[in-house]
């Protein structure tokens, strides 16, 4: 019983809130890139929030269900077709056995989410059902979905909410221009004044080199202060002795293209990081499509914590609205 994949889509993986506690051996946190969209999907189908969803990238999958199924599609704007008929996002859909689901082209953003009542019931690995593709672990057999895969669906553990759609004002935006808040630090003292001014004052454009590991931007570049490199660091001024990488940290290899690490990031390496995207804006990064014009705005720790509290309050508001 469950979901049978008939077309896999470009890269469709099982994700949840992610796994922590193993970053010290290089196993990344993983999980849905756009946590807020995934949480709203789980809310709509009466899940607790820890259930696994399908994360669909650019081009969605097609699948059929072999039993009555309650699902919701959230995230990047996309047409949702049930037996060829448009049914819409951000609302609860009730399917009968034999229904088939497919998707149109996304008209913004990068990823959309399919939440199913009961959740995608693959085994937990190290406390999470998230797929870590490079390590071939978690999710469905440690890999993106393929045609013919049959995904088990779990048993619901909570009641359905009375509301069946997310009000417009609580849905995230998928804009072509973004302001991303950054807490500077780590190795930012190694940037020249001009380099720092470029990072925080100029516009940067997201390149197509953007995936679950990180996002690479084009822009004016930055300059590093010259110095005698410490032993073991490597010869380029953007090199450091290999260190742990914060999720969300910004590195600028060679001073040319900033890379912001995301949820499947490598856990460490030898490039100086100069700041970190605040936790409240990680979902925003996940919604950026290539070509998105991006401004990095410096904030303080207090502002970062306030933004984090606001993000949590917004999700709580959605929960309250749905449960009326």
């Amino acid at each position: 019983m469950g979901i049978e994949i008939t077309k896999p889509g470009l890269s469709t993986t099982v994700q949840d809130r992610g796994r922590t506690g193993h970053y010290n051996v290089g196993i990344p946190q993983g999980g849905s890139m756009d946590q807020y969209s995934a949480e709203l999907g789980n809310l709509l189908v009466g899940n607790t929030g820890s259930e696994a969803v399908l994360e669909c990238t650019y081009m969605g999958p097609a699948f059929t269900v072999d039993e009555p199924t309650v699902l919701a599609v959230t995230g990047a704007p996309v047409g949702v077709l049930v037996n060829g008929e448009e049914r819409g996002q951000w609302r609860r859909l009730e399917l009968v056995a034999g229904d088939s689901v497919s998707f149109g082209m996304i008209s913004g953003g990068t990823r959309f989410y399919v939440a199913v009542r009961g959740g995608i019931d693959v085994p937990e690995v190290l406390g999470s059902r998230s797929t870590y593709v490079i390590g071939a672990m978690g999710g469905f057999q440690g890999r993106p979905l393929a045609a013919g895969d049959r995904l088990p669906v779990g048993h619901p553990v909570a009641e359905l909410p009375s509301g069946d759609s997310i009000p417009e004002e609580l849905r995230p935006a998928f804009a072509k221009e973004q302001r991303i808040r950054v807490l500077m630090g780590l190795y930012d003292h190694r940037l020249t004044e001009g380099g720092r001014a470029n990072l925080l004052g100029e516009a940067w454009t997201l390149t197509p080199v953007a995936d679950r590991m990180g996002l690479r931007y084009n822009g004016p570049g930055v300059a590093w202060k010259p110095r005698e490199q410490p032993f073991g660091a490597g010869s380029d001024p953007s090199n450091i002795v290999d260190a742990g990488y914060a999720v969300g940290s910004i590195q600028i290899p060679g001073g040319t293209q900033p890379i912001v690490l995301h949820r499947d990031a490598v856990s460490g390496g030898g490039y100086a990081m100069v700041g970190t995207v605040i936790s409240a804006d990680m979902d925003l990064l996940a919604r950026a499509a290539p070509g998105t014009v991006t401004h990095f705005d410096e904030v303080t720790m207090d502002q970062a914590l306030a933004a984090r509290a606001e993000a949590a309050a917004r999700l709580e508001k959605a929960r309250t609205v749905l449960h009326g």
Partner: protein, 301 residues
């Protein structure tokens, strides 16, 4: 460990956003810095602070992930600074660890084939091999001498990470004996699984196939990451290496490489390993003499 003896100043504390605290013990790599990192990581683990999510010791720095909803950033910093101050007076110079023998096929055809695909624009000397280049920049006669220097003295896993289970390895020799090789000019998009790599002063073993910028010298014969936990060495955890592990590379030829591969396929392969207590002071005083002692622990295992 006394930081005065080790010649290390106080650490530098800085934030990686609202969920990470970064503690830089030293800018330069040294065994003493790595020991202090590991001691601080152990002290923080023992403190079991509510809200600490990940404790990631690296070569000369420590990355701590925390949940700011449960633990105020400022409070975490105070705690870690206290732990650091306490290390200075405590005797932390010994580490209970193990020494492991890693069979490696140096100059193998797999990494040679991949290297062939990433020459012009990627490598400093596109016409030669990675080993030829490594020998040259270290002022050694040829690849064979470089290989001898590489496996003659043991290494310590000074960090585990990058991708799942990848060990960064620091050779236990004096600084002027360290093998240093620049990374590729631009990272490759492919590296064979279990490639023995080297960049800066660090060797590594690529636990999985993928991108990489280190020079490639050979392939290890047995896995170091086993998500299915099929082999006995992975019964407890899917990742083999732990920070502080000591490594002795043993060169093998193709026939032995294939024999080990067969053992891995049959599920019977075990790493040769032995417990050791590593003494930092002794290691710093006479590296090669001390290395002979710890290598003896492997004999009979």
């Amino acid at each position: 460990m006394s930081t005065t003896v080790a010649g290390l100043g106080p650490a530098r504390y800085t934030w990686g956003g609202d969920e990470f605290l970064f503690v830089e013990i030293a800018e330069a790599m040294s065994l003493a810095a790595n020991f202090k990192v590991m001691s601080l990581a152990r002290a923080l683990t023992d403190a079991a602070l509510k809200g600490v999510v990940d404790i990631c010791p690296a070569n000369a720095s420590l990355l701590i992930r925390f949940n700011p909803d449960l633990l105020e950033p400022a409070l975490l910093e105070v705690h870690v600074r206290e732990l650091e101050a306490r290390l200075e007076s405590a005797d932390q110079a010994r580490l209970d660890t193990r020494i492991i023998e890693i069979p490696v096929w140096y100059q193998d055809p797999y990494t040679a084939e991949v290297a062939e695909r990433f020459r012009e624009g990627y490598h400093q000397e596109p016409e030669g091999s990675d080993l030829d280049y490594a020998a040259k920049v270290n002022g050694l006669a040829d690849a064979a001498e470089f290989i001898r220097r590489h496996h003659e003295q043991p290494w310590m896993a000074s960090m585990v990470g990058f991708v799942a289970g990848l060990p960064f390895l620091f050779q236990l020799v004096e600084r002027d004996r360290q093998l240093q090789v620049p990374k590729y000019l631009s990272p490759r998009t492919d590296t064979p699984e279990l490639t023995l790599g080297h960049g800066g002063c660090f060797s590594c073993i690529y636990s999985v196939r993928g991108a990489g910028g280190y020079q490639m010298f050979g392939v290890a014969a047995a896995p170091i990451f086993d998500p299915a936990q099929r082999l006995a060495d992975f019964a407890d955890f899917m990742v083999f290496f732990r920070p502080g592990d000591l490594v002795k590379f043993r060169p093998v030829d193709e026939a032995e490489y294939r024999r080990i591969k067969d053992e891995v396929a049959a599920g019977t392969f075990r790493y040769r390993q032995a417990p050791v207590t590593f003494d930092l002071t002794a290691a710093l005083a006479d590296p090669e003499g001390y290395n002979r002692e710890i290598l003896e622990a492997l004999d009979g295992h």
